[in-house]
Symmetry: C2
Subunit: 331 residues, 2 copies
């Protein structure tokens, strides 16, 4: 009989614990549904780019993934293997057909991609552009680098490196809009802020290492007193570094390059390139997903359906030097 009583008591105790526990769980469930910034894992957001294999996208994708983790949703990475616009169009069309929760697109050809981007928006799929915009498309926002401002930052850094005096050269791709903007920001800032500095030469490096090297060599021949070169794109910096080495000018010449390719980072580490500008690719990916999530969940004020989001986010540049270069190698 004692044994039975013990069992009864245990039974009652467990029942109380069960009910208490059930209520506790119920209240936490209630708060769960109130949490607007939590999605579900069957919500899939897709990042679409071109040349999907290159390192450049890694940090953007990491940002996209980090935001997905914070908001409990899924992500995918799709696009063209090659630098091939038709392949990117096909990839984007396949993504649209599966009706994802949202798409972040970086385009190698705004004209060609615009009709496909518009098709996605018209099908009710949230789309934002990142890194490279399609400004005439119906995408809701663009998250990328303000290239003019990147040139401004390069100019200030160059002035700091050269104690605000000296003759400068720029190696760029004069036919590409983003490169023109970087060059213009650099020139304007040197002109307006640093009276003892001037840009004496601008040459076309064609985004090629060898041709950028040759351009730098010509420049140094034409201007013996040149003390600084700004390279506005990712590939030329290493070429200019090699030209400076070949001319044994490494002790007097300051080079500022662009982006964080391994070759460039290695030269920054060696001190041959004084600084390079890292774009905010993690930020592009992170805030792209945030924006897409907000569109998909209707969390943005929509007084006018055309403008529910900020139209442009300048993700900025970070100046990479010997001091902080280690954290920019891909992990």
């Amino acid at each position: 009989m004692k044994k039975l009583l013990f069992l009864y008591l245990l039974l009652i105790g467990l029942f109380v614990a069960y009910v208490y526990n059930y209520q506790k769980e119920d209240s936490s469930t209630r708060e769960w549904t109130e949490n607007e910034l939590k999605g579900s894992m069957d919500e899939t957001y897709v990042m679409v780019t071109f040349q999907v294999g290159i390192d450049y996208w890694k940090r953007a994708l990491k940002g996209f993934e980090d935001a997905a983790e914070a908001m409990n949703v899924s992500v995918e990475f799709r696009g063209a293997m090659q630098y091939d616009v038709n392949e990117e169009i096909t990839a984007l069309e396949q993504v649209i057909a599966r009706k994802p929760a949202g798409i972040a697109v970086s385009t190698m050809d705004p004209e060609a991609l615009t009709p496909v981007i518009n098709k996605a928006v018209e099908a009710g799929i949230p789309v934002v552009m990142f890194d490279a915009d399609a400004p005439k498309s119906k995408a809701y926002s663009f998250l990328g680098t303000d290239n003019y401002n990147a040139g401004v930052e390069a100019a200030h850094k160059m002035a700091e490196l050269l104690n605000e005096e000296g003759k400068l050269g720029v190696i760029t791709q004069p036919h590409q809009l983003n490169q023109q903007e970087r060059t213009q920001g650099f020139q304007d800032t040197i002109y307006s802020d640093y009276p003892d500095m001037n840009v004496v030469s601008i040459k076309d490096g064609r985004g090629d290492q060898m041709l950028s090297k040759e351009a730098a060599q010509e420049m140094m021949k034409e201007y013996a007193n040149l003390t600084g070169i700004f390279v506005t794109e990712a590939v030329g910096g290493v070429g200019v570094g090699k030209a400076v080495l070949a001319n044994e000018r490494q002790d007097t010449m300051k080079i500022i390059s662009f982006d964080t390719d391994k070759g460039t980072l290695d030269m920054v580490k060696d001190g041959l390139i004084s600084a390079t500008l890292a774009q905010g690719t993690w930020e592009m990916g992170y805030w792209s997903l945030q924006f897409l999530f907000h569109l998909n969940h209707g969390l943005v004020e929509q007084v006018d359906e055309k403008a529910p989001l900020p139209r442009f986010v300048d993700t900025g540049v970070t100046i990479v030097t010997k001091e902080n270069v280690d954290s920019f190698y891909p992990k």
Copy 2:
């Protein structure tokens, strides 16, 4: 004995239910703590402005509050009652002394506020600027209108209203940077995109209704064939509307104004002002709080401590016309 067996079975059943339930609750608890975008109510984020009583801040504060609700944190609204920089400095200093989780500041005087903003940042308090920047301060980001682009949008709308032809005037405040940028964006776009339109007159309305009315009247006298006026700030639009009425030119003159003051909205409703540009103030408030939360919780990639956030968010403008004007009246 049968009774005892039944009790044993019930006991085992309940125990299994309890354990199952406990595990379920445990797993949801685990996910809870993983939810990075949920703060606590004792985390207080403060919005600091000037002339706190004006309608202009209402939508920005609403955005700030909406984000706070989504992330389960608290907000406060503080600042100067008057258009008085010393009062704003005092208000900001009082806020800093209470060590809030973050501060979003709009400044009426960047020079004067910068040392106080820097004091907050140096004390480890996340600070972003919104609406009006202090560009030389240590604030982590600026969220506001790209004024040049607002002028571009106004030009495209004006072209649409006038079938891409006609003589235009601008009434502005030529000594204020944001007004200069709006005027420049408008002029550049008319010049480059619309060969049959041109800006023939730019006058100073001094941000005053009467003086803007007078400027518009002079303009119409000087240019009898004027068919469009762009007013670059909030107060002048109503004055220009009155000038057009006084000259009985309401059937031929198109006016585009700025911001959404009640007088302006009323004239848009009446059709006297064809369009006005609403700034993305809700977006400024919403994304300011998001940014502050991310800084406070260390959720942003920090390869370089100076640039954990996008440096600039252009919250864009929305074109308000008769069709959508009702949703812009303060609620």
